[in-house]
């Protein structure tokens, strides 16, 4: 209602580029998004597995995050089936992590001297991943723009060192910077001016509206419940078998080493496919979300299915920690 004139704000992709450049300068590995359907950046192995164990790591990536139940056929200006998170993991967190975060806001054109910023308690927990942490929702002029979490546990494993996780809601920040009331009006890209003629603009709707329309239809109306359950069961079985296989091989080798019949770990352990096992677990998680959106899971069943996915996540995390130890020794 108040009219505010601003300089040309960054496009959606400039926002991503600026944030990426900022964190790259701070020493982060710039990763590409996980190429599987996930509900949040936390679920990508770059977070879920990297925060385990003692090795320091810094990484930043954009993660398209799919939440089937949040889809609104592109009709609601603030809700999306698939939104984008900028995920930053700092392991261990530097002492000035909050100041670094505020600096990153300046880097994307938010002049904090003109705005109001608050860190309000918001503790994060993912029962599916056996993960939790304490932290804040960062509020910028009343808008939640970031989840700031000090991970304490992941995959049921206590973390040491812990990691700080910064999750920026990119659509929200872009709407804020561009001062638009609908996500679909966000300017995604703007071609450079040629001979005084303004370049072509691509909006969020141009790029993404079809996803929202079609995936909402699929998730709410057409996804084949029986087949989804079949996929779920198949992925779950294979993941569980891989986890069991690792335990068996690792235990057998351990005994052989203890008995003196083998001198060290072999590739059978250090190259054991736990990353593929984790991807199978992620597939289960996404299938669960689709089934949930489809209304195929009752409230009571929910708890049970979540527990099944958590069993896989915890199994992979435990095996991964063990495997990393063995690899460190192997080196």
């Amino acid at each position: 209602m108040t009219n505010v004139i601003k300089t040309v704000p960054p496009t959606f992709q400039e926002l991503i580029l600026n944030l990426s450049a900022f964190w790259a300068k701070k020493g982060c590995v710039l990763q590409q998004p996980m190429d599987l359907e996930v509900g949040a950046g936390t679920m990508a192995p770059e977070t879920f597995l990297r925060v385990l164990g003692p090795k320091p790591y810094k990484v930043a990536y954009v993660q398209p995050s799919r939440r089937p139940a949040d889809g609104r056929y592109g009709e609601n200006p603030n809700r999306l089936y698939k939104h984008s998170q900028m995920q930053v993991i700092l392991k261990p967190p530097p002492e000035n992590v909050q100041e670094l975060y505020l600096e990153s806001l300046a880097a994307i054109g938010i002049d904090l001297s003109k705005h109001d910023i608050k860190f309000e308690e918001d503790n994060w927990e993912s029962p599916t991943l056996g993960a939790w942490g304490l932290g804040w929702q960062v509020m910028l002029d009343g808008l939640e723009i970031t989840q700031f979490t000090y991970f304490q546990q992941c995959g049921g494993v206590d973390l040491d060192p812990i990691s700080a996780e910064l999750t920026y809601g990119l659509e929200r920040i872009a709407s804020f910077l561009q001062d638009v009331d609908s996500i679909y009006e966000i300017v995604w890209s703007r071609e450079p001016e040629v001979d005084g003629k303004a370049g072509q603009i691509f909006t969020y709707a141009d790029v993404r509206l079809a996803d929202e329309e079609q995936w909402s239809t699929y998730n709410f109306e057409m996804a084949d419940v029986a087949k989804l359950w079949e996929h779920f069961n198949l992925n779950e079985a294979e993941c569980a078998a891989l986890i069991a296989g690792y335990k068996k091989i690792a235990a057998a080798e351990g005994e052989a080493i203890a008995a003196g019949t083998a001198s060290k770990r072999t590739y059978a352990v250090t190259r054991y496919p736990l990353l593929p096992a984790y991807e199978l677990c992620l597939k289960c998680s996404n299938l669960f979300n689709v089934l949930d959106a489809r209304g195929a899971i009752s409230v009571t069943e929910r708890v049970g299915v979540i527990a099944r996915v958590r069993t896989l996540a915890v199994g992979v995390a435990t095996a991964w920690v063990d495997q990393q130890k063995e690899i460190a020794r192997f080196e």
């Binding site: 603030n78 505020l102 109001d116 860190f119 304490l134 000090y150 009331d181 209304g295």
Partner: protein, 718 residues
């Protein structure tokens, strides 16, 4: 003497935890100074300073050094320390402990006997040394509802510690906590930090508040006062407007800022067509905004937001808040309109797919049970009190629709508004105001602070809903234990007790539970009930506890009165309240105290008779009443019983108790002159029968023997 200043700098502490932690820190440091003999008793009151980023305390008049102390240390008893005049190993060990020769050890006599003792002189230590050791321990002991680690897994605190100030006057106390070394520099408000003021040097406790004010950090009282002043000032710009007083919200925003200011935002008046409950939930609970209203308490299209900075000179912040609120309201309107596509009536069937509890079935089944149970409650009330007019039709319709809002988008979005939304929708959809208000109030009272349902129909529905949950859960063995009460059954039972009491409903709790349990007959759950038959008794005990809680904690009746009253019956809530009220009113009178004492005596005599297997006559035989005192007592008691019973029937318990108090002279005389446990076994049996009769006749209001009277206690043997 010196001033002690301790400030712990933190990343933002959760708002709900700040004040309690600051108070605890002040108490801990105060206790520490006393314990360590570092503070004079007449020292000025300590200072406490708390913001989201810091907890600070300051104490004036701290001694530079502990005074030397001569302390008497008690050793073993002389009997143990010396055998035949020679010191035992115990004596040697004590001497070694206090660093003296056995010859130097003194003897003292105390009520327990003669003991070895030694006066040990302790040289006072430097305050800085003592505090450097002790303060980190006190910080470490602070209670946090939730804590975390960020450095070493063993170190836990609410959020990472980022700086520490510990000073005696202008000297730094050399201490370390969670890896942070104490210094003399604090930090400013984040806005000042961003502008380059990173470090705030401190001169000590006396100038602390002033220095921090210069760094845009205000104390709690200053922040509270400024927020109130700003709220008033901004509100005045809208003619006729008031901001809605909201102590809980004020408390939250005070704890979210170090330097507050208030801005006025505006939203499109078209959103005022949304239910006020939704608008207020968004503004208050989601955004921490204060609502503005006109003189008729109608919402105005404005809101007040508290910032953590000095104003909004560019208007950018107001603009941002307005955008956020508009988006939220838009969402709500989207859901509201979407929900109207299907009426609550249409949604009844949809409830079949919504599980209430694994074994207890769907919400569809729950509402069917509630409907029957509610109808029974209406009949039960009507049968006992014609003055209570309840529309059974309204209650039945409300029960059928009560849970349908669980399928609505707006409730999925604002879960805290379940029931409320259903009530509003019912009214909009033409179900009538009475049905709507009953549905609206079904979850009331949500806690001790909340009101009971406004209408009798709402009260019946709320009771039926809660009774159904308690009955089902108890018969499945899902009873609350200790701190575990996942279905909030205690709160629900408290709710039933309060509603029955405050609406004065003639509704016995045991019958309510029986009928509620019967509603499950024929369901799959019912088969499981057989395995937990004791659920019935457990439910009765449970309600008795809840009634006790209500009488004591909500109504404030004395412990012994409640115990006495409940011993005479805990099934009829309103009656129990009336009896507790009456007993409390008369208990201080001398006559009543004497009666209570006499009843204790009667109870003890009957207990002794029982223990010794003395015979008691089946009925009082008037012919055997030989002494005048006993025949007078018997006659007077029969007369009094008659009169008091009539008063009890009319629920005039005070009058009944006054009547009973009249029994005092006869009782006193009886105990003065008559020997109950006489040698004559027939007379003894008859006298015991008199006492039993009296106890029986006069225990319908309360078990008087439980009432504690001056100079006695309920368990004192007579």
């Amino acid at each position: 003497m010196a001033d002690l200043l301790l400030e712990i700098g933190l990343e933002e502490v959760p708002a709900r935890m700040i004040q309690a932690a600051a108070e605890e820190l002040q108490k801990r440091v105060g206790d520490l100074l006393k314990r360590e003999r570092l503070v004079s008793p007449d020292a000025a009151a300590p200072m406490m300073f708390d913001t989201p980023r810091r907890l600070a305390v300051a104490f004036a008049g701290v001694a530079e050094c502990q005074p030397d102390l001569t302390e008497q240390i008690l050793g073993p008893s002389v009997k143990v320390a010396f055998k035949d005049g020679a010191p035992t190993p115990a004596a040697h060990a004590f001497a070694k402990k206090v660093g003296l020769d056995i010859a130097q050890i003194e003897r003292v006599t105390n009520p327990k006997g003669e003991y070895l003792a030694a006066n040990v002189r302790q040289t006072g230590r430097n305050a800085a040394t003592v505090l450097a050791e002790a303060l980190p321990k006190e910080l470490n002991s602070l209670y946090w509802p939730k804590s975390m680690y960020w450095r070493e897994p063993g170190e836990r605190f609410v959020r990472p510690v980022r700086w520490l100030v510990a000073m005696l006057d202008e000297r730094v106390i050399s201490l370390e906590f969670d890896g942070v070394v104490a210094g003399s520099a604090s930090r400013s408000h984040r806005q000042k930090e961003l502008a380059g003021m990173v470090s705030v040097p401190l001169q000590g406790a006396s100038s602390y508040v002033q220095t921090l004010r210069g760094a845009s950090v205000l104390s709690r009282p200053e922040r509270t006062a400024k927020i109130r002043k700003d709220l008033d000032a901004v509100t005045r710009t809208i003619p006729g407007a008031h901001w809605r007083e909201d102590a809980a919200l004020l408390d939250i925003v005070v704890n979210l800022c170090e330097f507050p200011s208030v801005i006025l935002g505006t939203f499109e008046p078209e959103y005022l067509t949304l239910p006020e409950e939704v608008l207020v939930t968004v503004m208050r609970d989601h955004q921490c905004y204060f609502a503005l209203e006109d003189s008729n308490h109608r919402l105005l299209p404005h809101f007040l937001a508290v910032l953590n900075r000095d104003g909004d000179p560019h208007g950018l912040i107001v603009h941002g808040h307005e955008r956020v609120l508009r988006a939220r309201f838009n969402d709500a309107r989207f859901f509201y309109n979407f929900d109207q596509k299907h009426s609550l009536q249409d949604r009844v069937k949809v409830l079949q797919a919504v599980t209430f509890q694994k074994d207890l079935g769907s919400y569809y089944e729950k509402s069917q049970r509630m409907e029957v149970l509610a109808e029974w409650i209406c009949k039960e009330i009507a049968a006992h009190d014609k003055s209570l007019v309840i529309s059974a039709e309204t209650v039945k319709t409300a029960a059928r629709l009560a849970k349908t809002d669980l399928t609505c988008e707006l409730v999925k979005e604002f879960t805290e508004l379940q029931g409320v939304i259903g009530g509003l929708y019912a009214e909009v959809q033409g179900e009538g105001k009475a049905v709507g208000s009953a549905i609206y109030d079904q979850y009331r009272p949500a806690g001790a602070e909340d009101e009971v349902p406004r209408t009798l129909e709402g009260a019946v529905l709320a009771i039926a809903d809660k009774a159904d949950s308690i009955a089902g859960m108890f018969r499945l063995g899902l009873t609350p234990s200790g701190s575990k009460d996942p279905f909030a059954l205690r709160r629900q039972a408290n709710g039933i007790v309060r509603i029955v009491a405050e609406k004065s409903l003639p509704l016995p709790l045991s019958a309510l539970m029986l009928v509620a349990m019967d509603q499950f007959a024929g369901s799959p759950a019912y088969a499981k009930f057989a395995a937990f038959n004791e659920g019935r008794e457990k439910a009765a005990d449970f309600f008795r506890e809840r009634l006790e809680f209500y009488l004591r904690d909500a109504k404030g009746y004395a412990y012994d009165v409640v115990k006495a009253v409940l011993a005479a019956g805990a099934d009829d809530v309103s009656d129990a309240v009336a009896r507790a009220e009456a007993v409390s009113a008369v208990r201080s009178s001398a006559d009543f105290a004497a009666i209570a004492a006499s009843f204790k005596r009667i109870k003890n005599i009957l207990r002794q008779a029982d223990e010794n297997k003395f015979g008691i006559a089946p009925e009082v035989n008037a012919a055997l009443l030989k002494e005048e005192a006993e025949s007078i007592l018997f006659a007077k008691a029969s007369e009094t019983a008659h009169a008091s019973e009539a008063y009890c029937k009319a629920s005039d318990y005070v009058a009944a108790l006054r009547e009973i108090s009249q029994l005092r002279p006869a009782l006193d005389r009886f105990f003065d002159q008559v020997m109950v446990m006489t040698e004559d076994l027939v007379v003894r049996a008859n006298r015991l029968a008199v006492l039993r009769q009296i106890l029986h006749d006069f225990s319908t209001i309360a078990d008087f023997s439980e009432v504690v009277v001056e100079g006695s206690s309920s368990d004192k043997k007579l």
